[in-house]
């Protein structure tokens, strides 16, 4: 979506809040797969901790799968918590709280290295600011708002939002749809005051629309889809090596 289209979208007099997705909207990933980044981060953490990377990688991947199993069992529609993921991965290896902190740090670093700013999204934010709108971020992620803030400061050099809401903190997600009503309550505004922009069709267009928000879909390019596919292929031998299917 261009700034011109955004102008049209926010022209409704009731729209007072611009809500943006973070990943692949405000900051763009290079196409690497999640598993690739987990392995990269676990190997980095193992080097810093002076331990064998294979068990740490295996535990990180297992913890990711189990975190979403646990959510399905206990809190459907919510999201995993980053700190719990890291602790569950490191504790059985005898690495304790320090190990969990190192793993968390390495994951953030690995993620930051694979992200770049999206100038179009930053222009949207600037335009919204000029119009006097409040600008918030709503993201489906296991990161806390604090983690996202740290990540944005590293990638953008600034934290451009008035508030950051993550599915991990809020306990409801964009994919499940429940986060939009919660954010409206937390912001103390009516749903028709929001317009949400993001790259995923269901999470960023269909579900906010169903919650009464204005919504706009800004997908990544076809070229990016091809890059992502090449990373998926590249990750296959890695998945086989670490025994993750």
């Amino acid at each position: 979506m261009s700034v011109e289209v955004l102008r049209g979208a926010v022209s409704a007099p009731t729209t007072t809040v611009l809500s943006l997705d973070i990943f692949d909207t405000v900051v763009l990933r290079d196409g690497t797969t999640q598993v690739f980044r987990f392995v990269e981060a676990a190997e980095l953490a193992a080097e810093r901790l002076g331990v064998d990377p294979a068990p740490l990688t295996a535990m990180r991947l297992l913890s990711h799968d189990n975190a979403y199993r646990a959510i399905q069992m206990e809190r459907p529609g919510a999201d995993a918590r980053f700190s719990a993921l890291c602790e569950a991965a490191t504790a059985p290896l005898g690495l304790g709280a320090h190990g969990a902190a190192v793993l968390a740090e390495c994951e953030l670093e690995a993620d930051i290295a694979r992200l770049k700013p999206n100038p179009r999204a930053l222009a949207m934010i600037a335009e919204a600011r000029e119009r006097g709108m409040r600008v918030i971020a709503v993201s489906d992620t296991w990161y806390s708002a604090g983690d996202v803030e740290r990540l944005l400061l590293s990638v953008l050099g600034e934290q451009p939002f008035d508030a950051i809401y993550t599915s991990s903190d809020v306990g409801a997600s964009k994919h499940g749809g429940g986060i939009f009503d919660r954010v409206a309550v937390l912001e103390g505004r009516e749903s028709l005051e929001f317009i949400h922009v993001g790259d995923t069709l269901d999470a960023d267009l269909e579900n906010p629309s169903a919650a009464g928000w204005g919504a706009a879909h800004v997908p990544r390019s076809r070229w990016h889809d091809l890059v992502r596919l090449s990373w998926k292929i590249r990750t296959l031998p890695m998945q086989a090596r670490v025994g993750h299917s």
């Binding site: 064998d52 294979a54 068990p55 295996a58 535990m59 297992l62 913890s63 189990n66 975190a67 199993r69 646990a70 959510i71 399905q72 069992m73 206990e74 809190r75 459907p76 919510a78 995993a80 918590r81 719990a84 993921l85 602790e87 569950a88 504790a91 059985p92 290896l93 005898g94 025994g243 299917s245």
Partner: protein, 403 residues
């Protein structure tokens, strides 16, 4: 080459696999957000040795269970009764999971036989419908008759007692995670239907999804294998090639839980009335499971999960080889003998004797690879290769059929 004892096989191969399950279960429990509101209920009978294995894993690795872990005296039979109870108390039909269980377990039984299995009471032969084959509708029509009053009352009494037992085991938790061997998560579906106020989930060794329209949504996960069947590309799916072995491995020398009695105000299952049941729930000396416990207690002592993660890949390779390409020695070690159908019925499954290559290729309810290996036929390798090839070709054939 000297023959390997079942205990040796258990220690070298099954031990790391069981330890990997325990590690995965611990990890899952660690990621539960409100551990104080969750209880892991290890479902008898198989769950009793599974709980014992989990406890040994915790002791050896120095980990604590993040979630309370206790046994649940249950079986599909006892879990079915609360799912049927609302219909027996009112005008509603049986709910989906209860009805489906009746269909799967009793569609070849008469209503009289089904009533006997569910209640222990003989139905008078003159009761209309007693000799009809069981369907949910025909069974309900029989059970609501005055002549079935005693049987109906007993099913409801047993339902209430199981209710009290389960709630006691849950210890006030609103989320009960049933831990069991597998395969379809039927007990979880039945418990969810019988206890609609509880959040029910299941953590299984392996799971194959069996869709059941209208049944409650019970999150069910196979922690070692979660798929639609064996694939040569997924080593852990070998469990599905010989599922009877997994069931047998964890099945203690104890009767299935069929009923609960009120003994001096305490609700006690028939299993718990066996003298020394706790000891009997532990593996027999010299068994494969005894070997697995030796791995958990001795080889893992003072180690971290790293040891499990190092040993497990080799163990899976060896287990896969022994099940898919068994030698006569493997067939002897992995032989499960005769197993009961259970669910209040008398039938059994037993390892079939060699009936020739065509019968072996056609399949067996137990373990046809073992049947081939035991026969000492010179066709062993070609037959095993043909079976493996068949499994490899399955996904391709499925795609061709759908095209």
């Amino acid at each position: 080459m000297t023959a390997r004892s079942p205990e040796d096989f258990g220690r070298a191969v099954v031990g790391p696999v069981v330890a990997e399950f325990c590690l995965r279960l611990w990890n899952l429990a660690r990621l539960i957000d409100e551990p104080g509101d969750t209880t892991m209920l290890f479902c008898a009978r198989g769950g009793l040795p599974m709980l014992a294995a989990y406890e040994r894993f915790l002791v050896s690795t120095g980990l604590e269970s993040p979630v309370r872990a206790v046994p649940l005296m249950t079986s599909r039979l006892t879990a079915t009764r609360p799912a049927l109870a609302p219909a027996l108390r009112g005008d509603a039909p049986f709910a989906p999971a209860g009805a489906a269980t009746l269909f799967y377990e009793f569609s070849k039984s008469t209503n009289a036989q089904t009533v006997k299995a569910l209640s222990g009471f003989e139905l008078d032969a003159s009761v209309p419908g007693a000799h009809d084959l069981t369907t949910p509708e025909s069974l309900l029509n029989v059970l609501v008759r005055d002549e079935a009053l005693e049987a109906r009352a007993e099913i409801l009494r047993q339902s209430d007692r199981f209710d009290a037992h389960l709630r006691g085991a849950a210890g006030g938790a609103n989320h009960v995670m049933l831990v069991d061997t597998g395969l379809h998560g039927t007990t979880g579906l039945l418990v969810a239907e019988g206890f609609p106020d509880l959040r029910v989930s299941s953590a299984l060794i392996a799971r194959i999804h069996r869709p059941l329209r209208g049944a409650p949504d019970v999150p069910t996960h196979g922690l070692l294998e979660h798929s639609n069947g064996y694939s040569p590309l997924r080593r852990r799916s070998v469990l599905l090639r010989y599922w009877h072995f997994v069931e047998w491995l964890f099945e203690p020398e104890l009767p299935s839980v069929r009923r609960f009695d009120d003994i001096d105000g305490a609700i006690v299952s028939n299993l718990e009335q066996i003298k020394g049941w706790q000891e009997k729930a532990l593996p027999a000396k010299g068994s494969i499971l005894a070997g697995a416990f030796a791995y958990l207690e001795r080889d893992l002592k003072g180690a971290t999960a790293e040891r499990v993660l190092t040993d497990a890949p080799h163990a899976w390779r060896e287990l896969s080889r022994a099940i898919v390409w068994p030698t006569a020695d493997d067939a002897r070690v992995l032989d499960v003998g005769t197993r009961s159908h259970d669910f209040g019925r008398e039938g059994t499954w037993t390892a079939r004797q060699w009936q020739g290559p065509v019968a072996a290729l056609k399949g067996s309810v137990m373990w046809r690879e073992g049947e081939i290996a035991r026969a000492s036929t010179p066709l062993r390798l070609p037959l095993l290769a043909a079976i493996e090839l068949g499994y490899g070709a399955r996904p391709v054939l499925r795609k061709v059929r759908r095209a």
